[in-house]
C-alpha cells in the first residue's frame, strides 16, 4: 500500500475501512538467500537495503517477539553525528544523511525532525575536547557550531545560569541533529522491506545454528528449520547469547540503559540538550512528553529494567540544568539491553564461521546508527567485504590494538 495524503482523504471519506497491512504475515519458506536474525531497527534496515541497494531477493527477517520491540522501541529517539574520532564521525554522518532522505525512501513518515542537538560544556578542558570534536565533524562534512553562553541564553533562557554548581560555559551545536519517532523507524523499514518482498516473520525465535563442514547453513527456530546461504545477526543486547550457540566469546557485555518520559505538557524544549557535568539529555516529543535519559545502570543485566539510583541521578542532573521542569511528572520509565562493547564502538563484521555475519556493540548509540548500520551490514553480507565506512568496525581490532575509544575509558564496557 502506497501512503500519501490522498489515501488518507479517501479512507477518511469511506470510514477508514480500506487500510491494508503495513507489512504482511507471510508463510515461512524452507530456504532463503539471506536470513537476518532480529527484527529491530538494524535488522529491518539491513533487510531493506539488501533488497533495495544490493539487489538481493529472497530475504527473511526473523523476530523472536514483535518487530521493533527491542532498543528501537525503547530509546530516547535522538539522531546526530557529533563524534570526535574520524572512524566514528564518517560513519554517523553517513547515517545522518540517510535519515535526511529516509521517509521518501521508505514511504513512511518517521518524523525525522532536525531541531538541533546542543551539547553543553562546563569547563575549559571540556571546551577543548568539544572543539576537537566539532572540527572532526566539519572535516567529515557534517555541520557544527560552537555556541557561547550569550547565544545559549538567547535560545534557552530557562536553563540554570545563576545558581549552577557547574556553570554553563558554552555548547557544541549540531543543527542537523534532532529526533525521530522511534517506533515508526521499525514500522517504516518493515513496510518498505515488505514492499520489496522481504518476509518478516514475528514470534520466530532462533534456537540454534546449523553447521555443515564449518559453514553456517541454516537456523533451527521455534517455527522449524530454515535454510539460508547467509545469516546475519542484529540482535543488540542478545548478541552474546545468540553467538554463544556458535561457540563465540565476544568483546561485549549486556547492560541496562533506562529512559524516561514525562506527562504531556505544552512544548518548551525546541531541540535536544545534553548536560556536560552529569548524565542527562532531554528532548520533547511532538505529543508533548519530555523524553530524557542518562547513564547506564552500570552492571551486567538482561532484565530490561533498572533501578532507582539512576532515576535520581538523572533527575538531579536534569533539574540542575533546567529547574523549570521541576513540576513535570515522570510518567513511565523503562530499560533496554545495550550491547556495550569494549571500546564503545560497534562491530560490523564476518565471524570466523563462513556464512555467519554479526552486527553488534552499539552501546547506547545504536538508534541514530540504524540507517548506516543497515546499509553497511547489507553491504558486508551482499559483497562479503566491509563497506568503506565500517572497515574499522572489525572484531580483530581488540587483538591488534586498534580500538576506537571515543571516551578513552579502555576495556570497561560500563564506562563507555
Amino acid at each position: 500500500m502506497y501512503y500519501n495524503f490522498l489515501k488518507i482523504l479517501k479512507e477518511g471519506l469511506t470510514n477508514n475501512n480500506g487500510w491494508k497491512k503495513t507489512w504482511q504475515n507471510p508463510q515461512i519458506k524452507k530456504k532463503y538467500d539471506v536470513i537476518i536474525i532480529g527484527g529491530g531497527g538494524h535488522g529491518l534496515a539491513t533487510a531493506f537495503y539488501l533488497a533495495k541497494e544490493f539487489n538481493v531477493k529472497n530475504i527473511a527477517v526473523l523476530e523472536k517477539n514483535w518487530i521493533g520491540g527491542g532498543n528501537v522501541g525503547r530509546n530516547t529517539t535522538i539522531i546526530r553525528s557529533n563524534y570526535m574520532l574520524n572512524e566514528n564521525e564518517a560513519f554517523y554522518e553517513f547515517s545522518l544523511k540517510l535519515w535526511e532522505s529516509l521517509e521518501k525512501q521508505i514511504n513512511y513518515n518517521a518524523m525525522v525532525s532536525q531541531r538541533g542537538v546542543l551539547n553543553l560544556f562546563h569547563s575549559d578542558a571540556q571546551r577543548d575536547s568539544f572543539i576537537r570534536r566539532g572540527n572532526s565533524m566539519i572535516i567529515n562534512g557534517a555541520d557544527a557550531e560552537l555556541y557561547n553562553v550569550q547565544k545559549i541564553k538567547s535560545i534557552y533562557p530557562f536553563l540554570e545560569y545563576e545558581n549552577a554548581r557547574f556553570p554553563i560555559k558554552g555548547g557544541l551545536f549540531q543543527k542537523r541533529g534532532g529526533t525521530v519517532r522511534h517506533d515508526a523507524v521499525a514500522w517504516g523499514y518493515a513496510h518498505a522491506a515488505d514492499t520489496l518482498g522481504v518476509d518478516i516473520i514475528q514470534n520466530c525465535e532462533v534456537d540454534n545454528f546449523k553447521f555443515k563442514s564449518g559453514v553456517c547453513i541454516g537456523v533451527e527456530t521455534n517455527q522449524g528449520y530454515i535454510k539460508a546461504n547467509k545469516i546475519g545477526c542484529a540482535v543488540a543486547g542478545s548478541t552474546s547469547l545468540l553467538l554463544s550457540k556458535a561457540n563465540m566469546s565476544l568483546p561485549i557485555e549486556s547492560h541496562v540503559l533506562q529512559a524516561f518520559v514525562s506527562e504531556s505538557i505544552k512544548p518548551i524544549i525546541p531541540g535536544v540538550i545534553t548536560f556536560g557535568a552529569g548524565h542527562f539529555y532531554i528532548s520533547q516529543s511532538d505529543k508533548g512528553g519530555l523524553v530524557f535519559g542518562g547513564d547506564i545502570d552500570g552492571y551486567n543485566s538482561y532484565a530490561q529494567r533498572g533501578n532507582l539510583d539512576t532515576l535520581e541521578d538523572v533527575c538531579e542532573s536534569g533539574l540542575a540544568l533546567m529547574p523549570t521542569i521541576s513540576k513535570a511528572r515522570l510518567l513511565r520509565m523503562w530499560g533496554g539491553i545495550m550491547d556495550m562493547s569494549m571500546d564503545g564502538s560497534p562491530i560490523i563484521d564476518k565471524t570466523h564461521i563462513k556464512g555467519l555475519y554479526m552486527n553488534a556493540g552499539w552501546c547506547y548509540g545504536g538508534f541514530k546508527a540504524t540507517p548506516a548500520s543497515g546499509w553497511c551490514f547489507a553491504h558486508l553480507i551482499a559483497k562479503d567485504y566491509s563497506h568503506r565506512l565500517s572497515e574499522n568496525f572489525r572484531l580483530n581490532r581488540f587483538k591488534n590494538g586498534y580500538m576506537i575509544d571515543e571516551k578513552g575509558q579502555g576495556a570497561q564496557p560500563n564506562l563507555h
Binding site: 552474546s240 547469547l241 554463544s244 566469546s249 565476544l250 568483546p251 561485549i252 557485555e253 549486556s254 552500570g298 552492571y299 551486567n300 543485566s301 538482561y302 532484565a303 533501578n307 539510583d309 569494549m342 581488540f398 587483538k399 576495556a411 570497561q412 564496557p413 560500563n414
Partner: protein, 81 residues
C-alpha cells in the same frame, strides 16, 4: 556517588602469566572477551564508600537477585590452592 562500584566479570581475577609463550593472546582474551552470562553471574564490585573491599557477587542478570557475596581476597587465595 554510589556505595558500590561495578567492575565486571569475576574472570578478571584470573590474570594470565606475563612470561607465557602466548601471553599476548591470553591477555587479549582475558581483558576483552566475556561470557556475558544470562543467569547467575560472578562479578566484581568495590565497596568504595565502605570498607574498600573488592567483592565477588553472584547475581542473576535476568532479575538482579543476589545469592552470594564473597571477599575477593578469599576467593583468589582459594583459586591458588
Amino acid at each position: 556517588m554510589s556505595e558500590f562500584i561495578y567492575y565486571g566479570d569475576a574472570s578478571l581475577l584470573k590474570r594470565p602469566k606475563w612470561d607465557n609463550k602466548n601471553a599476548e593472546d591470553e591477555f587479549y582474551k582475558y581483558l576483552y572477551l566475556r561470557k556475558n552470562i544470562s543467569g547467575f553471574h560472578k562479578e566484581l564490585w568495590f565497596h568504595q564508600q565502605g570498607d574498600r573491599s573488592w567483592l565477588i557477587v553472584t547475581r542473576n542478570t535476568k532479575n538482579h537477585e543476589i545469592i552470594r557475596v564473597e571477599l575477593a581476597t578469599e576467593v583468589v587465595k582459594g583459586l591458588d590452592k
